[in-house]
Symmetry: C2
Subunit: 721 residues, 2 copies
């Protein structure tokens, strides 16, 4: 993205690009038919459970002023509007943890003011939202989104780890509170006697750890050894909602032996019960807020604006990673503008606003890539089979497949990137075939195995449309109506879910991986090299890694400490944004440029004004090459990019890890550079298998005999380990 700050230019460009494909966004979605429901439900569950959890967290933090009803309503409302009027429909909106934290700070401030109090709290947040929206408008109009390339890993990953710490804190606090007497409850109830509270607390521990451990396990279901493939895939995709269901079921097992209220469950009024409407009419109270507080609302508003600017843009960016080969343009500025309107809307009806969420947004793109792959595969496979029946030779086969592929292409009016994938691979395969003399012979299984080779040919493509986003938002809205059902979820299950979210966010965060590296026994560091690892592990001296990580850890603890300070805590986003100039101006004085580049690559250090396309080209060289067929690998893409800014690798790194030949290819062919990438960033050192003990070698020799389990033992992808 160009760093130009001509007012409105960013918004204009975004609108121009998106309007051209707006109609196709809907037609494409509808054409996908019933299959669109798979990504829809997948994202719905991934989005709804945290939103419900944040609702429960807000309920406690705001003494019941805001509950899961409001968080769900906001998620649904903003989602519907964004999916219809938004720029980038891959972006998923929802109420997120930073919002909860800011609302908690604001509630703690407001409740103790005589002239504000709990009564006028929502009206005051209405003003905060108005200010926030104005700031967001300003940022959008001035083109601030083109700055996001300046956010390096160091800030993004620190933010990610801070959120993980806050999740874990909530999980622990929630579990401990299960042993105590909740506020606003009648302490004379049977369920609150000392003995039952002990039982309730212990039961909560069982449910929390049960959910945490089974959810963590289910995420890895795809690489399980037992059960059919579809079942493993289903568990991996829907394991977490499934586990919420299972542990909610478990919580009903002792129902005959325990008094009502054990275990404690989600607290929320039904949206249709009396009194639940209060917040929908907040706008009426807004003029009752004292003028000083209206002006003072500007302070939290700047913080929220900074947060949303950061979070919304990064979520959008992650859902449009180069690996996904998106065809339709981005829309950072216009989406930020729309977010401003959404914030006002939410403020006026007294619900917490939503913004772009991680990891749901990249998960959304991923699930749509799987969808597109299935559609493409079916079409090409039938074409190829037909050609083979007609005794076509290889070039005829590719010709007919090319035609079928082009038919499937989104008919876009505006400039399209060259149809990637099919072409290059066709060329290279044909070249191979011609040297082997297969060129003119009719194609048979040995030359082209339809089932396997089509997967090799298919490029990563995403079914870019608006329908799945709209549908999942509507489902979130339906959750509000299903409140009586949701209220059956024990709170302890949600605490387990918070711990799960914290742990799930860690892999792929290089900051976290560096912390682990510090604790790794020196004799075991080779194990890090054996796995996928970042460049710095090989290029930066251990001591430098340690110092850099310690600096970041101290900074993280400062941020975490700040959130504990009652009212000043509201300033924590400032401390995170401060890292951007610190990184740009202070850190280069303490670390060698090359080391800093490997630890935390920043594009501005390489070329001050990188054009949109080139910057994405660079990104392509470090991304893991997508392999749609193996959903395990796709899982990794999502995992590794969560909470990170993926602008990490710069041309300089590329040159240090690529051979000149490979580098050439990476410049001229994004497709090929992707193919080469696993060898770049994820070098595996082949271990010398010399056993240190008894003087023999265990060699990894191929099986001396054909295996009775057949081909499968040889056709696995090494990336599934």
């Amino acid at each position: 993205m160009e760093e130009t700050f001509v007012p409105l230019r960013g918004i204009k460009n975004d609108l121009k690009g998106r309007l051209l494909c707006y109609k196709q966004d809907w037609i494409g979605g509808l054409r996908a038919g019933i299959r669109i429901l798979a990504p829809t439900t997948y994202i719905f569950f991934a989005s709804a459970i945290p939103v419900i959890s944040f609702g429960e967290q807000l309920e406690r933090n705001t003494d019941g002023t805001l509950t899961a009803v409001q968080t769900l309503a906001s998620t649904s409302l903003c989602g519907v509007i964004h999916s219809i009027f938004g720029g980038q429909p891959l972006l998923i909106l929802g109420v997120a943890e930073p919002t909860v934290l800011m609302y908690t700070f604001m509630f703690n401030f407001a409740k103790d003011r005589k002239d504000l109090g709990q009564k006028l709290f929502l009206a005051w947040t209405g003003w905060v939202c108005v200010w926030t929206a104005l700031l967001l408008f300003l940022l959008a109009i001035l083109g601030a989104c083109s700055l996001i390339n300046r956010f390096t890993r160091v800030a993004g990953e620190l933010f990610g780890l801070l959120i993980a710490m806050l999740f874990m804190q909530q999980a622990i606090r929630g579990a401990v509170e299960e042993f105590g007497i909740p506020q606003r409850e009648n302490a004379n109830e049977t369920a609150l006697s000392q003995s039952w509270r002990f039982g309730n607390g212990m039961f909560a521990l069982v449910l929390s750890f049960g959910l945490l451990l089974t959810a963590l396990r289910s995420r890895k279901a795809r690489s399980w050894r037992y059960g059919a493939g579809w079942l493993r895939g289903f568990i991996a995709d829907y394991g977490v909602p499934l586990m919420v269901l299972v542990w909610t079921g478990v919580s009903y097992i002792p129902v005959n032996d325990v008094p009502r209220g054990i275990p404690r469950r989600l607290v929320s009024p039904n949206p249709w019960s009396a009194g639940a409407y209060s917040n929908w009419t907040v706008i009426k109270d807004m003029m009752n807020v004292p003028i000083l507080y209206i002006i003072g609302a500007f302070i939290p508003a700047t913080m929220i604006a900074v947060l949303y600017y950061f979070d919304h843009s990064v979520a959008s960016q992650l859902s449009q990673q180069k690996e996904f080969n998106l065809k339709k343009p981005s829309s950072y500025h216009y989406d930020l503008l729309l977010l401003g309107f959404l914030v006002i809307l939410c403020g006026l009806i007294g619900i917490p606003p939503s913004n772009g969420v991680i990891p749901q947004s990249p998960m959304h793109t991923k699930s749509l890539a799987t969808l597109k792959h299935q559609l493409l595969r079916n079409k090409l496979s039938s074409t190829a089979k037909e050609s083979i029946k007609k005794n076509a030779n290889l070039s005829q086969l590719y010709q007919s497949m090319k035609e079928a592929y082009n038919e499937m292409q989104t008919p876009l009016v505006f400039q399209t990137p060259p149809a990637l994938g099919l072409r290059e691979l066709k060329d290279s395969t044909i070249q191979q075939a011609s040297t082997s003399g297969y060129m003119d012979a009719p194609v048979d299984e040995s030359v082209f195995d339809v089932d396997k080779d089509i997967d090799d040919l298919l490029p990563m493509e995403v079914k870019e449309q608006r329908l799945s986003n709209l549908l999942q938002s509507l489902l979130s809205g339906a959750c509000v109506a299903a409140m009586p059902l949701l209220k059956k979820i024990p709170t302890s299950v949600l605490w387990g879910y918070f711990a799960f979210m914290a742990i799930e966010s860690l892999p792929g965060n290089q900051f976290w991986e560096r912390i682990l590296l510090l604790f790794t026994a020196p004799s075991r560091r080779y194990k890090v090299l054996e796995e996928y690892h970042a460049t710095f592990v090989e290029t930066v001296p251990f001591k430098t890694i340690a110092i850099f990580t310690l600096f970041q850890t101290v900074y993280l603890l400062l941020c975490f400490g700040l959130t504990w300070i009652p009212i000043a805590g509201v300033l924590f986003p400032l401390l995170i944004m401060l890292l951007v100039p610190v990184r740009q101006y202070a850190l280069p004085k303490f670390f060698k440029g090359a080391h800093l580049t490997d630890l935390d690559a920043a594009e501005y250090e390489e070329a001050p004004a990188i054009t949109y396309n080139l910057s994405f080209e660079d990104q392509g060289t470090h991304g893991r090459s997508p392999n749609i067929d193996s959903a395990e690998v796709l899982d990794e893409i999502i995992t590794r990019s969560r909470g990170e800014i993926r602008h990490a690798h710069s041309p300089k790194i590329t040159s240090s890890t690529l051979s000149p030949h490979e580098e050439m290819r990476s410049v001229y062919s994004p497709r090929l550079s992707q193919m080469a990438s696993p060898r770049l960033t994820e070098v595996r050192t082949e271990r010398s298998t010399r056993s240190s003990g008894k003087g023999f070698e265990i060699k990894q020799t191929p099986s001396p005999r054909p295996s009775p389990l057949g081909k499968s033992s040889h056709s696995s992808s090494s990336s599934t380990t």
Copy 2:
């Protein structure tokens, strides 16, 4: 072992062999000095915790007649006597689960008889023990132990899995009982009110699962990535007692909030409190048992005799596996005779008898191998360093090391096997060196790296002595005195420990692995081939494996069902022994010989009378080659052999997996055949790394640049994965 049934010949041979090295057994132990305490404490903890658990199980099953005091006393008493007067001092004795089960059956029988009842129960078991002992004498004198080669995997592994099921049953039953009102308790206590019982039950779940999960984790500490090597080793070796300690500590956290009795803890009288002596004077009551019951005692006695004959011999066999390169002779017959005396002794003082236990016995040998390795290594290392200082050439170096090695050898009077290891490796290394022209040059680091190459030279040897067994038995005795401390262990921790024992016993059990194979998705079966796997996976058709496993499963469920039948359950050992003739005469009619050989090799099918040495030679070819330095590998030896009979591989298999050249070596050099073994039974199929998705290959290429983390990345043994 020869199958001869000349009365007393077996006992005579055993005694002759062991008497020759008896004095050395003590001197060797004392010479090891303070280091002997490492294997001693290791085995003590591994032995004491299950014995305490079985005590708690007995306490419940016998309404408090027998407790942990009695099981510990029996373990200690039998252990001390065996370590002094026994034949094979590597064998560890203890009260085991089958004994608990038999005593439970007998108690349930006795308590309902009017003329027996709980009062005369122990007196009656005294008679059972007398009969059992007589039968054991008979078996020992008639040379029955030479028959153990007929026990194939099929019986041993079924027995192992049955025990695992019983453990798991006890774990679940125990945890469920935590929610109920225990027998013999005053139901009006606060701790037994409905609310506290609920809390107690939930707390018990937390403690049980806490122990189970952390104990399972700690067992794998050696391959952890974090923490110093010694710490990881310590946690792997002592993690389980450590976790018992930790969770006992956790159980005291809510002590101020809960009434006494929550959580429930180990029930046992202190051995010095009044009434606890009752069982020591059982002999006085024995004449009060009605004559009919004295005769009837013969029925459970046969079952116990069969059990002990089986269990004791197999435990002894596992502690003397060929991999350990033992120098001193075995003593099956004499040890069975001594066991008879121990059974009488225990019966007369009213405590349950002990017998040889798995996996503690092979664990004992393993820990002594580590000890011997340390001693040898220190000696040779200093010799080598001295030689290098004197600018010795390679053959001088080996000469001096050879001399030092011989000094360390046990000076045995009787025929010794040739000093293995050092010789062959010296020869081959010298040959290599002479071809490279290094022969006469002074040795330097590049030719002989003292720290590494000594490990390669050292053969597996075991510090065979009696001291560690004696000391660990005395420690078990000290536990009786520490009863007030042991009573702080919550019962729920013990239930978790039962579950741990069940799960820990599964890996390496081929029956279990075949059950898992049946549930493995066909597309994932290649993963089994990638890991260490038994021969049958490659040679036997899947359908045959499935039928064989189903047969075994049905048989297992029959055995398990039998243990549920109130009194007839006592016959379950018969059903297991029945498998021996079923395997020998019935199964060959349903399965092809070659398949049966691979699924469950039996030596008698190859050569009816195999001589002692030859049979062990065969065993050597299938064992994993020992690698003392990598304790992870040694762990595997123990794990894989637990509950199994290691006579599985026969010469026939060897010839089908060895090349003729390798077979030659295996016949003429046991040392070399060991070296070859990893390639035989544990073939790894190198996966074709062709990625199925996008047409590129991720190759396991060596790192293109030297790694900053240094050598360590190349020196790992592939067997640690």
